[in-house]
């Protein structure tokens, strides 16, 4: 266990050194991320220019969901995407073999291979959005709300990570899946809006199959004091289950790689 903690440190150090190599990228990527976050707010501004509530959510409340989305996206782009996107490259160029030869868990090694902290500038954007949202709402969140929201932040990150592992496992089965990051981000975009926007089949899809609702709507509800303890427990349990399932799928995919490739 200690070994993995130390390994994590070593990997993080390697990423930071790489970061310092590409300082210009650091700056431009950060700015670009903020730019994207702002453009995505425009539909909200247009809608709430005309209406005062959508699917039961007011402007301030909807902003909370978008804020959580921005925060999670920053974590996704900064910590999860870079490493796992490289797995697809590894598979294609055959350098995954080197990962498999190391006496450490392959999933851990590939997941911690690369961090891009400059993409996390949207953590700041999220903070601004939160600030604005609470200004609109005219009140601050309760301590219990904040606590529950932080717990959900952890479980949402775990959920995002697990979904990513599932997507990357797909790359083992299909020869060329270049745009995995793009696909993932596109589907994740649905988490930008409160989940009650979706009806019927989509609602079912986004709650149970790809639980986007859990990731952004629940934390927003927690901050608003509207999340029941039962829902909180269900969300946490759901994330853990997902993590276990994705681990199994990863192991299976790895097994296929070693049995059929050359």
């Amino acid at each position: 266990m200690m070994r993995y903690v130390r390994l994590f440190g070593v990997q993080l150090r390697a990423s930071t050194l790489t970061l310092l190599q590409y300082r210009l990228d650091f700056a431009t990527e950060g700015v670009l991320e903020v730019f994207w976050a702002i453009t995505a707010l425009i539909p909200l501004l247009v809608i709430f220019g005309e209406r005062s509530s959508v699917a039961g959510w007011s402007f301030g409340e909807a902003l909370l969901v978008t804020g959580w989305f921005t925060l999670l996206q920053a974590i996704l782009e900064g910590a999860i995407n870079p490493s796992l996107a490289s797995v697809v490259d590894h598979i294609r160029t055959g350098t995954l073999d080197f990962v498999l030869l190391k006496p450490a868990d392959a999933q851990f090694l590939v997941s911690t291979a690369r961090f891009q902290p400059w993409r996390a500038t949207n953590v700041l954007t999220a903070a601004v959005v939160f600030g604005f949202a609470f200004h609109e709402l005219g009140r601050a969140p309760s301590p219990w709300g904040v606590g529950a929201a932080l717990l959900l932040l952890g479980s949402s990150t775990l959920l995002l990570y697990s979904l990513w592992i599932l997507s990357v496992s797909a790359a083992f089965y299909v020869v060329k899946v270049d745009n995995l990051t793009h696909l993932f981000s596109s589907i994740f975009d649905a988490a930008r809006w409160p989940s009650s926007v979706f009806r019927g089949l989509l609602a079912y899809l986004f709650t149970f199959v790809i639980p986007l609702a859990l990731m952004t709507t629940y934390p927003a509800l927690a901050l608003l004091g509207k999340l029941s303890p039962l829902a909180l427990v269900a969300a946490l349990a759901g994330s853990v289950t997902f993590a276990l399932v994705s681990r199994l799928v990863w192991l299976r995919a790895l097994g296929k790689y070693t049995s059929a490739s050359s």
Binding site: A14, L17, T18, L101, P103, S259, S262
Partner: protein, 333 residues
């Protein structure tokens, strides 16, 4: 150290014929073919040995190596390396082996090789003192100088290969697998890699398994060769013995003072090449002595050398012969 019995590795490959209709049909259904990459190979390797796998492209050498290192699961057969079953990829097993691939690298691209060494040190759990000692030794053997401190992408192919070797040996493995390590390198770098591998083997007693289709790699490094062709083992033993068995003839290269008639040369042996005042004769080992005396006596010889047949020729004949055998066997009822 290594024990392989009846190793088989088959896998399915999709085939797609050209043409528009086939392309459209392939949206729904793709025919596949079973490729027998390795088809019943058996051999044993003792600790500290240096063994070369020889064979044409697609023979199954790399596949065998990947099975030995645990990267591929065999379809059938028994494999044991360093007392472990490679497919299980036990931590203890992985710490005892290393694989160096000529066309791929494990060095981190954007950072200096030293960072990869550090990473490997952490992953393999090598103590600081051991690490220092190992890296000093490797730096010396490989003449690394300050190469490990320049970003990998700034190094030339040969320099990268040297650092790659160092990175692979951080944990002092007992078994070293090398897959085409000299491919793409210039002549002097090839020689440097070969002499390093030999020195490392002699110094540390590590078992070396090398695949190459450069005959000179194998000739320089491996007293024992295993020839694999079409997934089957066609020879296992010493290289010298192989050459002598395949081509019991020696080559006599004659530099003459003046041009001589072909007829006169043919009296001595089979003329392989003749160009003005230079001739190459193929002569059986047993009559070599007498032929040399006769040549010196009857011909205006200025200079004379005795050689073996070129390795490449021997090998291509071995492969074509084994292919013919295989084809005959496949056609027999």
């Amino acid at each position: 150290m290594i024990s392989v019995r009846d190793l088989c590795k088959h896998y399915r490959v999709h085939r797609r014929p050209p043409g528009l209709r086939a392309a459209a049909r392939s949206i729904f259904r793709r025919p596949h073919v079973t490729v027998r990459a390795v088809d019943g190979v058996s051999f044993e390797v003792s600790p500290g040995e240096r063994v070369g796998f020889l064979g044409p492209n697609g023979a199954g050498k790399t596949t065998t190596l990947k099975v030995l290192s645990g990267l591929l699961h065999p379809t059938s057969g028994e494999v044991r390396v360093a007392g472990h079953e490679p497919r299980r990829r036990d931590e203890a097993f992985l710490k005892q082996i290393t694989l160096v691939m000529g066309q791929k690298q494990q060095l981190l691209w954007d950072l200096p090789p030293a960072e990869t060494f550090e990473l490997n040190r952490a992953i393999y759990g090598v103590g600081r003192d051991d690490f220092r000692r190992t890296m000093d030794e490797l730096g010396d053997f490989l003449e690394l100088g300050d190469l490990p401190f320049k970003p990998t992408r700034q190094l030339s192919l040969g320099e990268r290969m040297k650092c790659e070797l160092a990175a692979a040996l951080v944990h002092r493995p007992r078994v070293l697998f090398l897959d085409e390590p000299t491919i793409g390198l210039d002549v002097s770098m090839q020689a440097a890699v070969r002499s390093f591998v030999k020195r490392y083997n002699e110094h540390s007693g590590a078992t070396i398994v090398l695949t190459s289709h450069y005959m000179h790699d194998v000739a320089a490094l491996c007293p024992r060769v295993v020839v694999i062709d079409r997934g089957r083992l066609s020879y296992d033993g010493g290289l010298e013995a192989l050459v002598r068995r395949m081509r019991p003839e020696r080559r006599l290269v004659l530099h003459l003072e003046r041009p001589v008639d072909r007829v006169d040369l043919e009296k001595l042996g089979k003329v392989v090449a003749l160009e003005r005042a230079e001739a190459v004769l193929q002569v059986h080992q047993e009559v070599l002595q007498s032929t040399v005396s006769r040549a010196l006596a009857t011909l205006p010889v200025r200079d004379l050398t005795v050689e073996n047949a070129p390795l490449e020729e021997v090998m291509s004949e071995l492969f074509s012969r084994s292919r013919a055998d295989l084809a005959a066997a496949e056609q027999a009822p």
